[in-house]
């Protein structure tokens, strides 16, 4: 079993924390994990990319080859398309619906969403709205972790346990809201 994932977004959107949560859950489920991140303040507001590889056998490269990703998960529609070349023929393209507009030439969002919908396996998730519904508008990340989860070799319980552990030293309501966000995201992508 091998799952290759590309995580995309804009610097500051928390792409790396999504990668960390999925990686942590995969480690606790006993998989080998390799996760390659983009670091440095230089990425503020710029396009951000992380590679995440989960396997039960040896993983040679930290980077996913083009045409090899089982999942491209993006916090933002344009960024999801930027890495479409990585997607395997039957891979899933999962994107948050809300555009992040910090450039003057952001393309017509309708065209972008229509293009995403052309991929054989695709999901467009109203992440901001679902986070609000979960009672924590900051939990957009967690909605997207949930949206990724139907495409991951990890049980929802394992992921929930990871989320609980992450917020163990916070008010219990924070963990609950995050788990709710996760489940709303999961339901939206299933």
């Amino acid at each position: 079993m091998k799952k290759d994932i590309i995580l995309a977004g804009v610097g500051g959107q928390g792409v790396l924390s999504i990668a960390a949560i999925i990686a942590q859950a995969a480690v606790s489920a006993g998989f080998s994990v390799r996760q390659s991140e983009v670091h440095g303040m230089a990425q503020r507001g710029g396009a951000v990319l992380a590679h995440l590889r989960i396997s039960d056998t040896n993983i040679a490269s930290d980077l996913v080859p083009q045409g090899g990703a089982d999942l491209v998960l993006s916090m933002e529609p344009v960024e999801s398309l930027r890495y479409a070349a990585w997607l395997a023929p039957d891979g899933a393209l999962v994107s948050a619906a809300e555009p992040f507009v910090n450039i003057p030439d952001y393309p017509d969002i309708a065209v972008i969403l229509r293009t995403i919908a052309l991929f054989p396996v695709n999901r467009i998730v109203e992440a901001a709205e679902l986070a609000k519904e979960a009672g924590l508008s900051r939990a957009v990340n967690m909605v997207m972790v949930g949206a990724a989860s139907p495409f991951l070799p990890l049980k929802p319980e394992t992921m929930e346990a990871t989320i609980s552990a992450m917020f163990a030293n916070k008010d219990p309501s924070v963990a609950e809201a995050n788990k709710k966000a996760f489940n709303l995201g999961r339901a939206a992508a299933e």
Binding site: V10, G11, A23, Q24, V27, S32, V33, R34, Q35, S36, E37, V38, H39, G40, M41, A42, Q43, R44, G45, G46, A47, H51, I59, A60, S61, D62, L63, V64, P65, Q66, G67, G68, V78, E79, L81, R82, A84, A85, W86, L87, A88, P89, D90, G91, L93, N102, I103, D105, Y106, P107, V111, I112, T115, L118, F119, P120
Partner: protein, 552 residues
């Protein structure tokens, strides 16, 4: 010990701690920063790491390496961390350090940045190791980053030379599980006995240089026998030889299955190189029957360029020099795939069902509300209002390395040069002396302390008619907000102490509401026909956030 998921940088740091590290020094620089951050975080000791050791940032890479030499002189183990271009700054003690009788193990961890994710060039530190004639270890995964770092200390003490640990961006910043070993105790304090091994007076240095040369055959024997320099000949097609090094080995293996299929099942002979000096004998054996050799190395063609001295001329060598492997940029599985003449893997896009619209680039930018943004607006305004008859050719705005380098692109587009840490000051001076009327240097507070200050001493001594603008955001922002060595309130006495006239040392608050006022004051200093220093002050937003969080 337990398994942990660590960044390559963290794995190297943990390797150093487990090797009995006594002190570590460095200057922040992507992708090396996390090595020192991990060391600083654990320097006080904790449940996992019982001993304490010293770890701190320095004003620059040269001072860091010199401090580490002092630790080694005292018989204890030291690590220095920096990025590839930082080694240029430290190159003086680096080259000379190779001639010393290293006592406590000294490991210089340098993270290269092929692909220039956040750097000015792609230089390959393996050249430096060869130049200084010291061993270089090149881990290819997080586990090796850990074990090779441990080994590097032993090696350094065994051969009495500094050892270079070469990391690259992808390894530094990728995370995987590693297995750790038991922690070794720190060396007892025991000062170097033979002073002549530590004094590079010509008579001693000549002798030490001979002894460095004499060590080379032993080092070659060590690298030839090293398990990381793995030669695979048995059952292989020896007509085609492949040399891989560092992460190039991983990308080769990623494509190996398809490569073997494309060659109807035959596997090429292979040598993976993980430690240097270059194992020449293994290279000769690899290529004994080969007609063709493919070289896959991460960085510059360090191995490839040396092959002609080792191999007969009849062999075709494919690598970076003939463009088989892209000469520039980071290696990745796809670059190597093309180099092996394999067709692209089929992907979702190949079916033709989806045509992508044109996607705009999304370059990094200054944070919204960053003090540098206001400073650049001010500089722009002041420069626009300079004597219009003089025009643009009579101003030069030389900037430097840091977040503020992002002011070079729209909407600000102010800097006209960005070369290396500290260069802005010297370049402004040169521009002034070449006859440019309004020569301006723009530098950050940490960069100023790093190496800008020495050029300011020159400029003050010469009373160069120029304006130095220090963008003081109270932190090393770009690499993740490390503390600067000298706090903002000390800049004024520091610069006055160098001899600048007080009336031409101006401090301004970098805020939008003071734009008009600040621009007028700045313009006055730019027009002044002598040397001025104008300090724009306001805390970086990230630093502010971090500070507030810590204060809570």
């Amino acid at each position: 010990m337990e398994e942990q998921a660590l960044l390559g940088d963290e794995a190297a740091a943990l390797g150093a701690i487990h090797a009995g590290l006594s002190a570590a020094y460095g200057y922040p620089g992507t992708p090396s920063t996390e090595i020192m951050e991990y060391l600083i975080e654990n320097a006080k000791g904790n449940a996992h790491i019982p001993d304490t050791f010293h770890a701190s940032w320095c004003v620059n890479e040269k001072t860091a390496l010199e401090a580490a030499l002092g630790v080694s002189f005292a018989g204890r183990r030291a690590m220095v961390t920096m990025k590839h271009v930082g080694l240029n700054v430290a190159s003086d003690p680096f080259m000379n350090g190779a001639l010393l009788g290293i006592k406590g193990g000294l490991v210089i961890a340098v993270a290269d940045d092929p692909g220039m994710h956040s750097s000015q060039n792609e230089q390959d530190s393996r050249f430096y190791a060869a130049f200084a004639m010291i061993p270089c270890l090149e881990p290819r995964n997080q586990q090796e980053a850990y074990t090779m770092t441990r080994e590097a200390f032993d090696l350094s003490e065994k051969f009495q030379v500094p050892v270079l640990l070469r990391m690259t961006t992808r390894l530094s910043h990728a995370r995987a599980q590693i297995k750790t070993g038991p922690k070794r105790a720190q060396n007892p304090l025991s000062k170097a006995g033979d002073k002549t091994q530590w004094m590079l007076l010509p008579a001693y240095a000549r002798r030490n240089y001979v002894s460095l040369i004499e060590k080379q055959p032993e080092l070659l024997a060590w690298s030839a026998a090293h398990p990381s320099n793995k030669l695979d000949l048995d059952g292989r097609d020896t007509g085609l030889a492949v040399i891989t090094s560092g992460l190039g080995g991983n990308y080769y293996e990623e494509n190996l299955e398809d490569f073997i299929k494309s060659r109807s099942g035959t596997i090429p002979a292979r040598l993976h190189i993980g430690v240097y000096p270059l194992p020449e004998e293994s290279i000769r054996r690899l290529c004994e029957k080969a007609e063709r050799l493919i070289v896959i190395e991460e960085g510059q063609p360090v191995i490839e360029e040396r092959l002609r001295g080792i191999l007969p001329h009849r062999i075709t060598i494919n690598g970076k020099l003939d463009g088989t492997i892209s000469r520039t940029g980071e290696l990745d599985p796809d670059v190597v795939r093309r180099g092996l003449s394999l067709p692209p893997r089929p992907g979702a896009l190949n079916s033709g069902a989806v045509i992508l619209p044109k996607l705009p680039g999304r370059p990094p930018q200054l944070c919204t509300g960053c003090p540098h943004g206001d400073s650049y607006e001010t500089i722009k305004k002041a420069v626009q209002e300079l004597d219009p008859a003089e025009g643009h050719p009579n101003t030069a705005i030389n900037a430097d390395i840091g977040c503020y380098a992002l002011g070079a692109t729209p909407p600000y587009s102010v800097p006209e040069s960005i070369v290396c840490m500290g260069a802005s000051v010297g370049m402004a001076r040169g521009a002034a002396e070449a006859g440019i009327k309004y020569a301006i240097g723009v530098i950050g507070d940490s960069t100023f302390l790093h190496s800008g200050i020495s050029s300011l001493i020159d400029a003050i001594a010469a009373d160069t008619p120029m304006t130095l603008i220090i963008l003081d955001n109270s932190i090393v922002a770009m690499t993740g907000c490390q503390q600067t060595m000298v706090r903002s309130d000390k800049f004024r006495p520091l610069i006055l102490g160098l001899g600048l006239k007080g009336e031409h040392l101006i401090e301004l608050e970098a805020k939008k509401q003071f734009l008009e006022e600040n621009a007028a004051k700045l313009k006055k200093e730019i027009e002044y026909r002598g040397l001025s220093v104008v300090i724009f002050q306001r805390e970086c937003l990230e630093a502010f956030r971090k500070r507030k969080k810590n204060e809570k």
